[in-house]
């Protein structure tokens, strides 16, 4: 299966669709991962609607690309991307966080193979991705493994064990994206644990590191191209994200979980309609 290569404007348009889903889902539950979802919409559009080779008719296709969401909690955008990629039906979003629904707050594999591993206990996703990348390489598959980590998650020690490991194994079929949105429960990540420079740390561990504006579609696409072209080392894309991106009155707000009133939800949807 060849890679789907929509244009940058097409991907930008689809990111707006993802944002609409995110607003509707959080509007329904009133409080949740709104700012992170809007912020990461461009990344998820580029990944699920362009970069990843998936086959909605064969979810277990061995040579599919795999993506793990290591934080597991940024699910409004995750599930929205599944819908736009045709992996789950649109009506499923209406059950987000309902009792009995497989669309839990933290994504689990109850939903299906598209949740490639149940994460959420922070720091574990990169290790699992490495295991997949090692097996795929040993079996001669050209499939790639992507893993999205939160920036706060980099405070977990296991991430650095795994970073050493991936660099040492030279896993060029592995691409990690750091969702650098500066949000964690305690507040601004830099005020909790200073982490810069992030890319340079991974470079020192043997990675190819790329810093980008994570809300600039051309930047994202170029970085993914560069990761794919890199041989002999894994790539980390450190994506600077504006929380709430795309909705001016939410942009730059700092809240791990945000409330969205019905009125603000309608305002946000109107802004997205206008932009479309």
């Amino acid at each position: 299966m060849t890679r789907n290569v929509p244009s940058v404007p097409e991907l930008e348009q689809r990111a707006q669709n993802l944002r609409r889903h995110v607003v509707r889902m959080i509007q329904k539950v009133k409080v949740g991962y709104l700012l992170q979802g809007l912020g990461a919409a461009d990344l998820f559009a580029a990944l699920y609607l362009g970069e990843l080779r998936l086959d909605a008719d064969q979810p277990n296709w061995f040579d599919r690309d795999r993506l793990l969401l290591s934080t597991a909690h940024n699910t409004a955008i995750f599930y929205a991307a599944f819908v736009e990629a045709g992996l789950i039906p649109p009506e499923a979003l209406g059950t987000y966080t309902d009792d009995g629904s497989p669309l839990e707050v933290n994504a689990s594999e109850r939903l299906g193979t598209m949740v490639e591993a149940t994460c959420g206990s922070l720091g574990q996703g990169l290790s699992v991705a490495i295991g997949m990348a090692l097996t795929l390489r040993r079996r001669g598959s050209n499939s790639r493994v992507y893993v999205v980590l939160g920036d706060g998650e980099l405070q977990e020690g296991q991430v650095w064990e795994a970073a050493l490991s991936a660099g040492g194994f030279g896993l060029d079929n592995l691409c990690m994206i750091i969702d650098r949105n500066y949000l964690q429960v305690e507040g601004h990540t830099d005020q909790v644990v200073a982490m810069d420079p992030i890319g340079a740390k991974f470079e020192a561990f043997g990675w190819n590191a790329i810093d980008i504006d994570g809300n600039n579609m051309a930047d994202i696409v170029q970085a993914l191209d560069s990761a794919r072209a890199t041989k002999g080392a894994p790539t980390v894309i450190v994506a600077e994200i504006v929380p709430g991106a795309g909705i001016p009155f939410l942009e730059g707000q700092m809240a791990h979980v945000a409330f969205l009133s019905p009125e603000d939800g309608e305002r946000a949807l109107a802004i997205l309609e206008e932009a479309a």
Binding site: S127, V128, L136, Q158, G168
Partner: protein, 332 residues
């Protein structure tokens, strides 16, 4: 534990029965694993340093493309094993018992147990079998692993049961904790091989007065205790409970009904291990009889020789025999 069920020699594959035979007949872990891996190319071997102490240098040298040395990073190793299992492999991950369980409990829960992946966690140096000290003494590993849904826990009684233990681990399509002893590297070739079936205990000696249910190195202590008891006219049954989870509950209940007293003997804390599993079975079964648990009595140990520690913690054959006599006299 109804959720743990065996496949009938399904997962391991073993299309070539010679290797199945080779695995079952191996008397060292390293040889058993290598034979299994030669029969099934999905089997991969992960190490966190410690190739020699975990006998996986044999695998490393024979099948290097399926051997992955992660270095001293157990948490990452368990996650990597989960990723490999999700991609179709059957990973065996190795370290000392304490580091392959307690240190990585959350990683195991999330990346092996919850998804019920065929990740086989292999630990060496159980309980008191190290002079190094408290950092390396795994006294709670069985309790931890037993508490996880989907997880099977196997502790063979010696080299004669190693091959069967590896085969049983492969026979179950899910996560397994295999608890092994380092000193078994040089086995006695004349000892008859012992079978091992997940969920089944093995009566090694039939008696009438007291039933001693043991696992691992405590099986030998229990057999020795039974000899001591026999000299005083007390007849003891000795049972090897190598399958700690799933536990052979039917056998526990049958033995409880046919004996006056029951003792468990484990190289582990009495909290959450074999003894606790047996006690739960008796309580749920509504069976009351004289009962005691030989093991580490909810304390930390210390670095010292095994003989010294077994004596200090009242776990050797003499102590087992003496506890059995007390139970039978109603003084237990």
């Amino acid at each position: 534990m109804s959720e743990v069920q065996t496949l009938s020699h399904g997962l391991g594959g073993f299309a070539d029965l010679r290797h199945w035979h080779e695995t079952l007949n191996a008397r060292s872990y390293g040889h058993a694993l290598l034979a299994a891996a030669r029969a099934d190319e999905r089997i991969v071997c992960l190490g966190a340093d410690l190739s020699q102490p975990t006998q996986t240098h044999l695998f490393r040298d024979a099948l290097p493309d399926r051997f992955f040395m992660l270095g001293i990073q157990e948490a990452n190793m368990v996650g990597v094993a989960g990723g490999m299992a999700r991609t179709g492999d059957i990973p065996f991950a190795h370290s000392f018992c304490v580091f392959i369980t307690r240190r990585v409990f959350d990683q195991i829960a999330m990346q092996a147990a919850y998804p019920k992946l065929p990740v086989k966690l292999v630990g060496f140096m159980p309980g008191l079998t190290t002079e190094l000290g408290v950092s390396h003494q795994a006294i709670d590993d069985i309790a931890l692993m037993r508490s996880l849904p989907n997880m099977a826990v196997i502790e063979p009684a010696g080299p004669a049961q190693i091959g069967a233990a590896v085969a049983a681990a492969l026979d179950y399509d899910g996560p397994v904790y295999l608890r092994l002893e380092t000193s078994w590297a040089e086995p006695d070739e004349s000892e008859p091989l012992m079978p091992l079936t997940l969920g089944k205990g093995q009566v090694l000696r039939e008696g009438e007065d007291v039933a001693i249910l043991a696992s691992g190195l405590m099986v030998a202590q229990a057999l020795q205790a039974a000899n001591m008891l026999a000299e005083g006219g007390v007849s003891a049954s000795v049972v090897n409970m190598a399958s700690i989870k799933p536990l052979d509950r039917d056998l526990v209940i049958r033995l409880a009904r046919s004996h006056k007293a029951m003792l468990t003997a484990e190289n582990h804390s009495i909290v959450g291990g074999l003894g606790a599993a047996v006690a739960e079975t008796l309580a749920i079964g509504g069976i009351g009889l004289s009962f005691a648990m030989i093991g580490i009595q909810d304390v930390f140990a210390e670095g010292a020789s095994l003989d010294y520690l077994l004596d200090k913690h009242k776990m050797n054959a003499s102590h087992i025999a003496s506890k059995a006599r007390q139970l039978l006299c109603g003084m237990g």
